[in-house]
């Protein structure tokens, strides 16, 4: 029921006096109203902005947070008000909903933030008023599409496969994403080259060449150098066939692949050749065969695998199918009408080219599209009049659906651009997040080092024991407990690269050297471990650690689902699950992470595994401890 209707309830109950004398039975007792009769003003403090409202206003919607007893959880006894640590700007709209019964969507707010606020206050978004519902729906759909695009971009089409995938999967990925490996890239360019060669050959073989000695007539080059062209054609077709078969083999779903557009194009491109092979060298049949050769030109469509623009064009045409269909239909109608009219107008004249209505079709089409070849021209006055009407209307009919198609194309094109842009930005973003993680990992190691130092030299602490907040201490202690629990320890990249990970797919790695024990400890750099094993092990380690702080869970999940293992070694730090501050900056919110500036860490990325862990590590952590420029990034 609408909010205000609750106000009229007493009235409706009073109006029941009309039933009283007519009632066949006694009326039931009215419900006991235990709540306080007098209406009181409630104070709601949202992040410092104080709102006041009647209790009755909030009670209108008992299924929401503010209307139910849930708000008691937020009651502050000292100030006798309800305190919410949320956005006061948004709260204004929420409160207006209680007051007016209509929920409005503020257009300048982010749709996700708004949704979250609604969820917090227990309000279903479906009750947004009609005035704002359309806008809300549109924005929400747009946002979802955007997120879906992001996820797709994240899905790491570029990320390497898990190592235990079959050859088939590798092959498929190589075909779909040529950038993943050099062989794939080579193959990609090779096929492109051969497509071009094939198309050019098709074109050139019809060009008239100088006739051979003795003959007068010009021969097309295809006849003159028959063998050469045949060889070239064979080579191209062989390559295309090979490619097609490989794709068929590698496809995860063969039936779906066979039905896809690209595969159809592939087949159409190579079929004429094989048909030509099996066709006997018969004159009449070869006439039909020659027409089949036309299909060779479809090889040009194979370029769409290589060009995104071509794909976009194809996609646009597909999505504008209805507009195109309408265009076609209206044109057909107009053509038939005008052709009929012109035919009957020109019927009488001698030598008229308008021999039949279908013959007039040609004239109509040429006129409506403003081509005007002039091979068919009306001679009678009536014919000329109708001819001019025809050309005028042609312009209109064609001009109408075109903007729709154009706008569709533009939208799809921009979407595509955006996807690429997002992908590029994503890489940068991931890189910065990885750096953050590295920073926090180093902070923890720093803590352990300090503790170790503190153990040894009881009174003084090492150089960089900064003022750590209680939060940091407790967090570090927690991580330490976790280490003790799992009997594994956190390390950073430099250590990790020197640690020997025993090569086995199945059991966990034991990165067992910790900084504290490494004071003067030996270095386990016993050779290079294959990258794959390291990554595998690192991933297992990541799975075993637990993320603690609020923001980190999100990040860990995102990182896991995204390219958790990109190519560079710095990704190894993605194993660190804790998001902590580096010493020196006690302000912490889940949404903002302060990370040290790159300079201290960047040498890590480029540095090969060097056999000098201790000074390197110390340098590393110390350096990170000293840099104060912070780069704020949001935790996704």
């Amino acid at each position: 029921m609408a909010a205000g209707v609750a106000t009229w309830l007493p009235f409706a109950r009073a109006a029941a006096v009309g039933w009283l004398p007519l009632a066949k039975k006694t009326m039931p007792k009215p419900p006991r109203d235990n709540s306080s009769k007098s209406d009181e003003i409630l104070y709601v403090n949202v992040s410092g902005v104080r709102f006041q409202t009647w209790k009755n206003t909030l009670d209108r919607y008992p299924e929401t947070l503010l209307g139910s007893s849930e708000k008691e959880f937020f009651f502050n006894e000292d100030t006798q008000e309800f305190f919410f640590d949320r956005d006061p700007e948004m709260f204004r709209h929420i409160l207006n909903f209680y007051r007016t019964g209509k929920l409005h969507y503020p257009r300048n707010e982010c749709i996700q933030a708004f949704d979250e606020e609604l969820a917090f206050y227990g309000i279903v978004p479906e009750i947004i008023g009609d005035c704002c519902m359309e806008e809300y729906r549109d924005r929400k759909k747009e946002n979802q599409e955007r997120l879906a695009e992001d996820n797709e971009a994240n899905e790491g089409l570029d990320a390497p496969l898990p190592p235990d995938s079959s050859t088939r999967e590798h092959l498929w990925r190589a075909f779909e994403n040529p950038h993943t490996s050099t062989t794939a890239l080579v193959f990609y360019y090779a096929t492109g080259f051969f497509i071009a060669v094939s198309v050019i050959a098709n074109v050139v073989e019809t060009v008239p060449c100088r006739p051979p000695e003795g003959a007068v007539k010009d021969l097309p080059c295809g006849e003159k150098y028959k063998l050469a062209f045949f060889c070239m054609d064979t080579a191209c077709v062989l390559i295309f066939t090979f490619e097609y078969l490989m794709r068929l083999f590698a496809a995860p779903s063969r039936s779906r692949f066979v039905r896809s557009v690209m595969s159809v194009i592939d087949v159409v491109a190579i079929m004429p050749y094989y048909i030509g092979l099996v066709m006997p060298d018969n004159d009449d049949v070869s006439g039909a065969f020659v027409t089949l050769r036309v299909f060779r030109v479809f090889r040009i469509f194979k370029f769409s695998r290589h060009s995104a623009g071509l794909r976009i064009l194809g996609y646009t045409l597909k999505s504008c199918a209805s507009e195109l269909g309408f265009l076609l239909f209206s044109l057909t109608m107009a053509i038939i009408i005008f052709a009929t009219v012109m035919f009957y107008a020109e019927k009488g004249t001698a030598g008229s080219t308008f021999t039949s209505i279908p013959a007039s079709f040609w004239y109509t089409i040429v006129t409506m599209t403003t081509l005007g070849y002039g091979d068919m021209v009306p001679n009678t006055v009536a014919g000329k009049i109708f001819g001019s009407i025809c050309s005028l209307s042609g312009v209109l009919v064609i001009a109408l659906p075109v903007p729709v198609i154009v706008s569709n194309f533009s939208r799809i094109y921009h979407q595509n651009q955006r996807t690429d842009k997002i992908r590029a930005q994503q890489k940068v973003r991931m890189a910065r997040i990885r750096m953050a993680k590295k920073g926090t990992a180093n902070a923890f190691l720093q803590y352990k080092q300090d503790r170790a130092l503190g153990d040894r030299h009881s009174n003084s602490t090492a150089l960089c024991v900064k003022n750590r907040s209680a939060f940091e201490y407790q967090h570090n202690h927690l991580l330490h407990c976790l280490e003790k629990t799992t009997n594994h320890e956190f390390t950073n990249e430099m250590n990790y690269s020197e640690l020997c990970i025993t090569e086995s797919v199945d059991y966990r790695t034991s990165c067992s050297t910790s900084l504290s024990s490494q004071q003067g400890a030996q270095n386990n750099s016993t050779g290079c471990c294959p990258r794959r094993a390291r990554r595998r092990a690192a991933m297992r380690l990541a799975n075993s650690t637990v993320s603690v702080s609020r923001g980190s869970i999100q990040e860990l999940n995102t990182l896991k689902s995204t390219s958790i293992m990109p190519q560079t070694r710095s990704s190894l730090n993605a194993t660190m699950s804790d998001l902590k501050l580096n010493c020196g900056d006690p302000d912490f919110t889940a949404a903002i992470i302060s990370i040290p500036t790159p300079p201290a860490n960047s040498p890590d990325d480029s540095m090969p595994p060097s056999p000098a862990p201790i000074p390197g590590i110390l340098r590393n952590t110390r350096a990170t401890a000293y840099t104060h420029d912070t780069v704020k990034i949001s935790s996704l």
Partner: protein, 220 residues
């Protein structure tokens, strides 16, 4: 009767006023209703005229003004609001009768004063007041007596509010039967109409009706 006095006073005031312009009056009325906000009399006056306390008046007015920012409710809105309480059936007829009963100055809209006066009589009035008000509701043409047809209309409108899905299922002749039994109870002198005295007397004698009067406790 009260009704007659009202009409009389209305026409008197119009003549005395001299501002009654036959041509433009109706147009002006519409104009007023749509644009001009109606303001009620001051709270003190209302407090004198009704039996509500200041706080109650405040609560009532706040709710009223929230629903009708321009201060008046016309019949359409009234019907819509009332139907929200009875979603299963069709309450438009009964709402119409209620509207007629509340709209004491017969200007086609209920202002806050009408609203509050009516409520005051029903909720805070004596038993006589309430029965008077109910009689006024039933007496559709305000001629001082309830005929069987009037009663039948009222009864039908009440049964309409029940809707289709009732237990036991609604038979078509039930309203008619109910009217008959009502008249049997109320019409003392069996003249086919019920006057106000008969009505009040019979209701006071009826135990269940008297007991049901407690329905109006705690409404506000």
């Amino acid at each position: 009767m009260k009704a007659k006095n009202r009409d009389q006073s209305l026409s008197d005031s119009r003549e005395l006023d001299g501002s009654y312009d036959q041509l433009t009056d109706s147009v002006e009325d519409d104009f007023e209703l749509s644009i001009v906000c109606h303001r009620p009399e001051s709270m003190d006056k209302l407090q004198e005229q009704t039996k509500f306390t200041k706080k109650e008046l405040q609560v009532l007015y706040r709710g009223f003004k929230n629903e009708c920012p321009c201060g008046v409710v016309n019949e359409e809105n009234f019907k819509i609001i009332y139907s929200q309480f009875f979603p299963q059936g069709d309450s438009s007829m009964y709402a119409h009768f209620l509207f007629e009963a509340f709209d004491t100055d017969k200007n086609g809209s209920i202002g806050f004063e009408d609203f509050v006066f009516g409520l005051s009589i029903i909720l805070r009035g004596t038993i006589n007041d309430r029965l008077n008000w109910a009689f006024n509701l039933y007496d559709l043409n305000k001629d001082g007596c309830i005929t069987k047809e009037e009663m039948f209309d009222i009864m039908k409108s009440i049964y309409d509010m029940m809707g289709k899905y009732t237990y036991p299922t609604m038979q078509d002749d039930i309203p008619r039967e109910h009217v008959e039994s009502f008249f049997q109870k109320m019409d003392r002198n069996k003249d086919g109409v019920v006057t106000i005295e008969e009505f009040i007397e019979s209701c006071k004698k009826d135990e269940s009706i008297m007991q049901s009067m407690q329905l109006f406790d705690n409404v506000i």
